[in-house]
């Protein structure tokens, strides 16, 4: 029986359980006219029954899905001959793969032999048996759970509280998904990075001035042995982030001041959604805008002033990234400015300040912590930004502070290291994880500082 059918049947059983449970609750007190004798509304008894019918069966199915392949592979291996079982793990893995492919009707590598086809037919047998067993077990559990729940229905049974408790468990499970995913990602990056640092020393990575990750794959291959000094990447990232912030902070801040304090409601009503559209443009679109429009323009302008400008320059990428971040800065600054109580404005105006004196001497200082927090969040956004720099900043890991030169960033290098087929036992590929870890740590610190500053600021006026 297929899992889809099984789930459909379980669903139907749950629906039936709901109605039976509800009906029984009503019957227990002697008809709907005695409904108030029940502790909870009859529907809650129905939900309670349905949940007991459904959840254990689904839990078994989930566990089954995890364990089934392993058990079957173990069974297959134990059925193989002694010689095959003593193969190296890699070869054994290959053999099992072959058996599975054969059973699924796919192409098999190597020659077919009797043992192989026999094993594959055994495999098919196991699979069929497993799915039948699962169907029987889960249906029996569903029936059993439903029956137990039905038997517990009494007038003073607190079905409402029970159902809410189960909902609470579901909510906790849902929220832990994000947490566990984060932990999982961090751990996987951490372990791969540790593998990298076994090949390349931490000091070379953190303080080396030369980044050239190409390593020779074979011993006789001509090529560099690889050099993993990440300093050029971090300076490149800093340069582009710096340029981006030089664009985004003044423009975003002035936008926010204008929108929050000076503009009429009509202009605000038009400008705010437009800014949000700017925030909604995919970064890849900004990327080709940077590479195809801004970079040539920067090059032409630079050359007309007599500078030598690379066709992919830090300046072009930084400018476009700055434009991308304007909405973020302006909306966070706008929030901070609006959070300053209007009593402050009234107080300053009542003392005879002009609007701009009110703004610069009272409102901005009061909003400053919030604005700083917003800027820190924008910086971490800029550091993590990838698409624009991939397209517009180039790949050359130059150690330079010249905004007209091509530089590269941490994120760009991670992309180039992992694009395409890569071997996962070389320092070149593992370097991506080390870079990712560094990036993660830096943005995490910035975010923590930024969020704390914002939060501290919010408490001030509550």
């Amino acid at each position: 029986m297929q899992n889809t059918t099984l789930i459909l049947i379980l669903g139907a059983m749950a629906v039936a359980a709901f109605f039976i449970g509800r009906g029984r609750a009503v019957a227990v007190v002697g008809g709907p006219q005695h409904g108030t004798d029940l502790h909870s509304l009859p529907g809650y008894y129905g939900y309670f029954t349905a949940i007991w019918c459904l959840l254990p069966a689904l839990a078994v199915m989930a566990i089954w899905a995890v364990l089934e392949p392993r058990v079957i592979v173990a069974l297959i291996i134990s059925g193989l001959s002694e010689a095959q079982r003593s193969l190296s793990p890699g070869e054994l893995n290959l053999l099992v793969n072959n058996i599975q492919n054969l059973a699924a009707g796919d192409v098999v590598s190597g020659d077919l032999d009797v043992a192989l086809s026999e094993a594959s037919s055994r495999l098919s047998g196991y699979v069929v048996m497993s799915s039948r067993l699962l169907a029987v077990v889960s249906l029996v559990l569903a029936g059993l759970g439903g029956t137990i729940a039905l038997r517990r229905i009494q007038p003073d049974f607190r079905a409402r509280n029970r159902v809410e408790k189960i909902i609470l468990v579901v909510l906790i499970a849902a929220s832990s998904i994000a947490v566990f995913t984060t932990v999982g990602i961090v751990l996987s990056v951490l372990f791969e990075a540790i593998r990298f640092f076994q090949e390349v020393s931490l000091t070379e990575f953190l303080f080396g001035l030369n980044w050239s990750p190409q390593t020779a794959i074979r011993a006789d291959q001509v090529g560099s042995s690889g050099s993993f000094g990440a300093v050029p990447l971090f300076t490149g990232t800093l340069l582009i982030t710096g340029i981006a912030m030089l664009v985004a902070v003044p423009v975003g801040l002035m936008t926010a001041i204008y929108l929050a304090e000076y503009s009429s409601n009509r202009i605000r009503g038009i400008a705010k959604p437009l800014l949000e559209i700017l925030a909604g443009i995919p970064t890849v679109v900004y990327g080709f805008f940077a590479a195809l429009t801004v970079a040539p323009w920067v090059r032409r302008m630079g050359e007309s002033f007599g500078f030598e400008v690379a066709s992919e320059s830090a300046l072009a990428a930084g400018l476009v990234m700055g434009i991308m971040i304007i909405p973020l800065v302006s909306s966070l600054a706008d929030d901070a400015i609006n959070a300053v109580p209007s009593a402050m404005r009234d107080g300053a105006l009542g003392l005879g300040s002009t609007r701009s004196e009110t703004m610069t001497k009272v409102i901005l200082p009061a909003a400053l912590p919030g604005i700083v927090g917003g800027i820190l969040l924008a910086v971490s956004r800029a550091i993590g930004e990838t698409m624009i720099v991939v397209m517009a900043a180039g790949l050359a890991a130059n150690l330079t502070a010249n905004p007209f030169a091509a530089v590269t960033t941490v994120t760009v290098q991670i992309v180039t290291l992992l694009v395409g087929d890569q071997e996962f036992d070389s320092a070149k590929t593992l370097a991506a994880f080390a870079l990712g870890l560094m990036l993660f740590v830096v943005t995490l610190i910035l975010n923590v500082i930024g969020l704390n500053v914002v939060r501290k600021y919010r408490e001030q006026y509550d």
Binding site: M344, G347, L351, G352, K361
Partner: protein, 309 residues
């Protein structure tokens, strides 16, 4: 007489926004339903003619003639005429939403910051038309100080709070002069003794009553001619309130003080004259004693005996 809407809306003063009937852009149906009784009251007032009592005074400093205020379509203040002399404390009383705060805010043009507000009529300060074309509202607000309902010290040090006004108006030539202004202002606001050792600490760290006295010190530091107080004690406890009331008494020697209050006891204690507002109309103005012992208008009597509001 066709007046679309009698109930006053004071959008700047949330204390006055006490009920749904005060919403600016409400639907038409409940508005009409609520206006019916108010219309009857308006008829009652206009039947009796103009404001009862004495709107004029000797040696007037602020003269408001036929002032009307509109918030959009809403007629918040109707044809108010009132004179205020320089040596008096005048209290504006009345039920929530009666227009007393709105009238107060006309006197230093704080209503300018509300886009929909429109003021007609004539208000002069020492003979100068404050809604005149050649008058800078920013300069006016330095002459007419304001203390707000909730203490609103800036998130700066106590010293900087008081020094803010003198600094932006260039009242002090050097640091020593500024120190003098700050100290004397705090002294006059009765706060110096409590804060003289911690002038660099934030003003927001003071207690509510101290904050309000700090705001008064901040206001008198720019040397105004008039001080407007919009329910200055409504957020304070009785002891802090008593201190502010004593302070008003002292300050009234040098400044004209206009105070909006919900407390009739407070009005009786601090003011020389009382103006009773009702639904945007100035119903009665007279000496404080007279208002509280022998009110002329039935609405005033109802209010002070607790039948309205």
């Amino acid at each position: 007489m066709t007046m679309a809407r009698m109930t006053d809306v004071n959008v700047t003063d949330d204390q006055d926004l006490s009920g749904d009937e005060n919403k600016v852009a409400g639907s038409e149906v409940p508005r009409a339903a609520i206006d019916l009784p108010s219309l009857a009251i308006t008829e009652q007032i206009t039947e009796l003619g103009k404001t009862v009592g004495e709107v004029r005074c000797e040696d007037p400093y602020i003269v408001a003639e036929n002032v009307d205020v509109y918030y959009g379509d809403n007629h918040a203040i109707q044809d108010v005429t009132l004179e205020i002399s320089k040596q008096e404390v005048i209290a504006l009383i009345g039920p929530s939403g009666c227009g007393k705060s709105t009238f107060l805010r006309c006197l230093n043009r704080m209503n300018d910051s509300i886009e929909s507000a429109r003021v007609t009529g004539n208000i002069t300060l020492g003979g100068q038309d404050i809604y005149g074309k050649d008058l800078d509202p920013v300069a006016l607000r330095a002459r007419v100080g304001m203390v707000f309902q909730k203490p609103n010290p800036f998130p700066k040090s106590i010293y900087d709070n008081v020094a803010y006004g003198p600094r932006i108006h260039g009242l002090a030539n050097d640091r020593a002069e500024l120190d003098d202004i700050v100290h004397s202002s705090l002294e006059r606001a009765g706060l110096l003794k409590e804060v003289k050792d911690r002038l660099e600490e934030p003003g927001t760290g003071l207690s509510g009553g101290q904050q309000q006295r700090l705001c008064i010190a901040r206001t008198i530091a720019v040397n105004p001619e008039v001080i407007l107080m919009d329910e200055p004690c409504s957020a304070l406890d009785p002891i802090a309130t008593a201190r502010i009331e004593d302070l008003m008494d002292e300050l009234s020697e040098d400044y004209a003080i206009v105070i909006v209050t919900h407390s009739m006891q407070q009005a009786a204690r601090v003011s020389k004259r009382v103006a009773y507002f009702h639904l945007g109309l100035l119903v009665e103005v007279d000496e404080t004693d007279k208002i509280f012992t022998n009110p002329q208008h039935k609405l005033t009597e109802d209010y002070i005996t607790g039948r309205i509001g």
